[in-house]
């Protein structure tokens, strides 16, 4: 096993920098995501403090605009997406019975490019020109005429870098899921988290090209004087909105589908029943992904598209509520007749269902264009999508964290603290965001750094701010929980929850090769079947035979590589050259080409050599 030997001799840091192990990359993604989640949270708290009172002067208008731009960008691209990616990385191979992803070095490259893009966007803070155009960066406010500083450049180039990372990861997981499933794992036997992730990867590779195009046009406008979005020269700022939202709406499902997958794993485990109507849940996930590309203009009902387009996109949007509703009822069907153990992972999943339902229902309201004309760009919409993305995605992802933490870390998180975390988060969340529905209905627009005292908005704003502090407190509890149990928590053992899927059949944390013997799969709940039979009188499935030392010695593990890291650095040098000098672009470009070459040829061996 060259991987573990290298780790011993070359030091811990180097082993992490050069790792191609999907589990370690998963941990890197997860910890980066959590740090950015905290940064995005701090940005949110500052905004809430500013809005706690009318005519408040805690931050300036400019700072506030930077805060909401970076809060949105951070939470979407640097927190929720990499959180999901950490589960794709760590769990997908385990759930499909594989030893790694299809392209381990490409996987490492995705992470390092993600990190350089994330740091690039945030570098704006250091230079005093943090992005301030909103996470949606509407043209023509983003033009050099109206945004002459580099603030938009940091955002635009950073997103381009992140796009590369998402595309690489998307292709990698598509290939992994199609090709690397254990024998017997047909598509319909794939666990639900794998299915929802599978749909997500397709959304990633189909949606990101749209924003890439939009950003390239913007880059040309800003750097080379083209006029794609300049209305005075016949360009069209609405072109940006169409391109952005045809990415942006699938993006919403990129954020929510992995969480739906997690919930679909957690509920069966803690209700001790299979997922109710799994094929319905799978197909509704596919339908959500498919319709997700046909509803983008519901973000644009107020731009004046005309009644026919308004009607068409309204109907499409209402249509997408059908598979979403189906999922919720199937989850409740899973609980029905179960024997529900209220451990912290399940609480977060229940929180997901309860809160996501509310976000879905308020979504139906502004699926109706006339109603949307009152609600869009108000706090009503802010409340709506926080119920979907916080009440949905974040609750779902934390359900996954509590669920899989013992698998990843080998020790259980503290249940008592976990419950404190959940209840504080649930109360704080509702206190923060439910009043924002009221605020929207009494006319409070989004993205305002201040408001007058005579509007009747101050009471609910104060409630909302207090709620946001309770959310912050809940994450303090979580951090205490992690620190406390990291070294001294109860050892989890391989199967602490009486799990149903393959990851629980191997030790916690899993060995570097995951499965000593490749499992053979007979059912979606394969491990449950191995333990209990199918529940209809069927016999338990056969377990893989015990591994011998020879088996383990014969396992091929990809060796570590530093080229992913170096290549990501070269890309960062090239892209940041756009803000520094043409020479840096050329040097960085040549460096990138060189690194790509070395990356490609690293394991190339002459035909006569002894390949693996």
């Amino acid at each position: 096993m060259p991987g573990t030997q290298a780790a011993k001799t070359q030091g811990v840091l180097w082993s992490w920098l050069t790792t191609v192990d999907h589990k370690r990359i998963g941990i890197l993604y997860g910890s980066s995501a959590f740090i950015f989640f905290l940064i995005g949270g701090i940005e949110a708290i500052i905004m809430r403090l500013q809005l706690a009172r009318p005519d408040n002067t805690l931050v300036s208008a400019q700072t506030f605009n930077e805060l909401f731009t970076m809060h949105g960008t951070t939470m979407i691209f640097l927190a929720v997406m990499p959180f999901s990616a950490s589960f794709f990385n760590y769990m997908l191979p385990l759930l499909i019975g594989a030893r790694d992803v299809a392209f381990p070095r490409l996987n490492a490259l995705s992470y390092w490019i993600f990190l350089s893009g994330a740091l690039f966007i945030n570098a704006g803070w250091l230079f005093g020109v943090a992005p301030d155009g909103g996470w949606f960066g509407y043209a023509n406010l983003s033009s050099t005429q109206f945004s002459p500083t580099h603030s938009i450049d940091f955002w635009m180039l950073g997103l381009q870098i992140l796009g590369i990372s998402s595309m690489l990861a998307g292709f990698n997981f598509i290939v992994t899921i199609i090709n690397m499933r254990a024998p017997g794992m047909t598509l319909m036997r794939m666990p639900l988290f794998v299915w929802m992730s599978f749909v997500t990867q397709f959304l990633l590779v189909l949606a990101f090209p749209a924003i890439t195009v939009a950003l390239i046009l913007l880059m040309f406008d800003r750097f080379f004087g083209t006029l794609f979005y300049a209305p005075s020269a016949g360009g069209d700022p609405l072109l940006w909105q169409h391109l952005f939202w045809i990415f942006g709406h699938p993006e919403v499902y990129i954020l929510i589908l992995p969480a739906m997958g997690i919930v679909s794993e957690v509920l069966p485990t803690f209700a001790r029943k299979p997922l109710f109507g799994a094929p319905f849940v799978i197909f509704s996930g596919i339908m959500i992904g498919f319709f997700g590309f046909g509803v983008w203009s519901h973000h644009m009902f107020s731009v004046g598209m005309g009644p026919v387009a308004d009607s068409a996109f309204s109907i499409a949007t209402m249509l997408i509520a059908v598979p979403t509703g189906v999922k919720i009822l199937n989850w409740i069907g899973t609980l029905w007749g179960g024997s529900i153990r209220f451990r912290s992972p399940l609480l977060f999943s229940l929180g997901f269902i309860a809160m996501f339902t509310m976000g879905g229902l308020s979504g139906i309201m502004h699926a109706s264009p006339p109603v949307d004309l009152q609600q869009t760009d108000t706090y009503f919409v802010v409340a709506h999508f926080h119920y979907v993305l916080f009440g949905g995605s974040i609750f779902g992802l934390f359900s996954g964290i509590y669920y899989w933490w013992p698998k990843i870390n080998g020790r259980l998180l503290d249940e008592r603290l976990g419950k404190w975390h959940f209840w504080l988060m649930l109360i704080g969340f509702n206190m923060t965001f439910f009043p924002q529905h009221f605020l929207g209905l009494i006319g409070m627009p989004r993205r305002i750094y201040t408001y007058a005292p005579d509007l009747g908005w101050h009471f609910w704003n104060m409630v909302s701010t207090i709620g946001s502090l309770i959310i912050a407190l809940s994450f303090v509890v979580f951090i205490v929980n992690v620190v406390k149990t990291m070294r001294s928590g109860t050892p989890a053992g391989p199967d602490p929850w009486d799990g149903r899927t393959l990851e629980w059949s191997i030790p916690s944390p899993p060995p570097v090769y995951n499965f000593a013997i490749e499992p053979t799969v007979h059912d979606r709940d394969e491990f449950w079947l191995q333990k209990n039979g199918d529940g209809h009188g069927g016999k338990p499935a056969s377990r893989p035979r015990a591994a011998t030392p020879q088996d383990i010695a014969a396992i091929h593990i990809p060796p570590p590589s530093h080229w992913p890291l170096v290549l990501a650095l070269a890309v960062a040098v090239m892209v940041s050259g756009l803000l520094v000098s043409t020479y840096q672009i050329i040097v960085g470009g040549l460096l990138t080409l060189f690194c790509m070459y070395r990356f490609a040829m690293e394991h190339h061996r002459p035909a006569a050599g002894h390949g693996h």
């Binding site: 249509l319 409740i332 308020s362 009152q374 006319g443 509007l455």
Partner: protein, 357 residues
């Protein structure tokens, strides 16, 4: 059905267990929560009466929207109660009990799942039909009899022109009650959104496009409006007022606006007029008979407006002096430059502007 929970026998076993759900401490907790809720709602009872409320519509357009909103609200409330209630019921009814056997491994129930899929689709159809009717109703072409108001959204103030009446004003749009008005929306710089919540929905103001918003105000009053599309630094300060006049009053307002400004005899105001005429003010502002700038608001009848600078401040001498001395301090990013008008100069200018009734 295959949907049954634990059998009757198990239920009677658990009935002998202490009923934890009705302990006095829990009753107290529930009462406390209820009390807090009542308090919170009574604090918010006047909630819907904000000058920017959307749920007390004061125009036909606003009413139609509110009707659909109410239809969807009640429908979703029913779904909400059913789903959340079902969820809570499941959590209570099927909670793990000591010694409970492994539940039956039910994989699904296809007819049931098909029926709730269809049920959702039917509900959405019910909501979709009136929606589409209102979409078309609210986007009809304007009639020739409509009062036309040309709205221009500037960073960060609003300009209103009445092409048929030859009136130009800023940050306050005056309308007669019961008269259908057609707003023609244009943006000379970036995208804004024109919104008077009490009079109905918003419509984006997009450069090089003319969007329309048509409505008939139904009750006199002063309604607040605000830009609803993020448009740069002082987006939050891009506010305005819609003043709906009772019958007859609007004509008086129009007459006053059409008249040339009254020449003030006040010495300070005269001095202010002189400063105005000699300074860079004239490059941006129009005052009928004095200057013809078009970048900033038309100031011909400045003193007739209740607020100024994107409806940010009441029109008082103190506010006006502060504004003239340092516009960026009052409205961050304001495009009106600081012309170094201080002391006597700003006082004189303020006196002049306040004489422009």
């Amino acid at each position: 059905m295959g949907l049954r929970g634990p059998s009757r026998g198990e239920e009677s076993q658990t009935a002998t267990m202490p009923r934890r759900f009705v302990s006095p401490s829990r009753v107290r907790a529930v009462l406390l929560v209820l009390g807090v809720l009542v308090l919170a709602t009574s604090c918010g009872w006047s909630l819907w009466d904000s000058p920017m409320t959307t749920v007390r519509p004061r125009s036909d357009f606003g009413r139609w929207i509110d009707d659909i909103f109410m239809l969807i609200s009640w429908t979703t409330l029913v779904i909400f109660v059913a789903v959340e209630g079902g969820l809570l019921y499941c959590c209570w009814r099927f909670r793990d009990r000591p010694g409970a056997p492994t539940p039956r491994q039910i994989h699904g129930h296809t007819p049931l799942e098909i029926s709730w899929t269809v049920a959702f689709a039917v509900v959405l159809l019910i909501l979709g039909i009136p929606t589409i009717r209102i979409i078309f109703k609210t986007q009809e072409a304007p009639a020739a009899t409509d009062l036309r108001v040309d709205v221009a959204g500037h960073q960060w103030w609003w300009e209103f022109k009445y092409p048929g009446l030859n009136v130009t004003t800023a940050n306050e749009v005056h309308l007669p009650v019961g008269q259908t008005v057609a707003f023609h929306l244009q943006a000379p710089d970036v995208i804004h959104s024109f919104w008077i919540p009490a009079l109905g929905g918003k419509r984006d103001v997009v450069p090089h496009r003319v969007n329309r918003l048509i409505m008939t105000p139904e009750a006199p009053g002063e309604y607040y409006g605000q830009c609803a599309e993020y448009c740069g630094t002082s987006h939050a300060n891009m506010r305005f007022r819609a003043i709906v006049h009772p019958k007859g009053e609007f004509e008086q307002w129009v007459k006053a606006q059409q008249a040339p400004p009254v020449e003030s005899t006040d010495a300070l105001a005269q001095q202010g007029k002189e400063i105005f005429g000699k300074s860079a003010c004239v490059g941006c502002h129009t005052i009928a008979g004095v200057s013809a700038g078009v970048i900033g608001p038309n100031l011909t009848h400045f003193a007739s407006r209740r607020t100024f600078a994107g409806s940010l401040m009441q029109t008082t001498p103190e506010n006006l002096i502060k504004w003239i001395e340092n516009p960026d301090h009052m409205k961050p990013g304001a495009l009106m430059p600081n012309l170094g008008m201080t002391g006597d100069k700003s006082k004189a200018l303020a006196a002049y502007l306040l004489s422009l009734k």
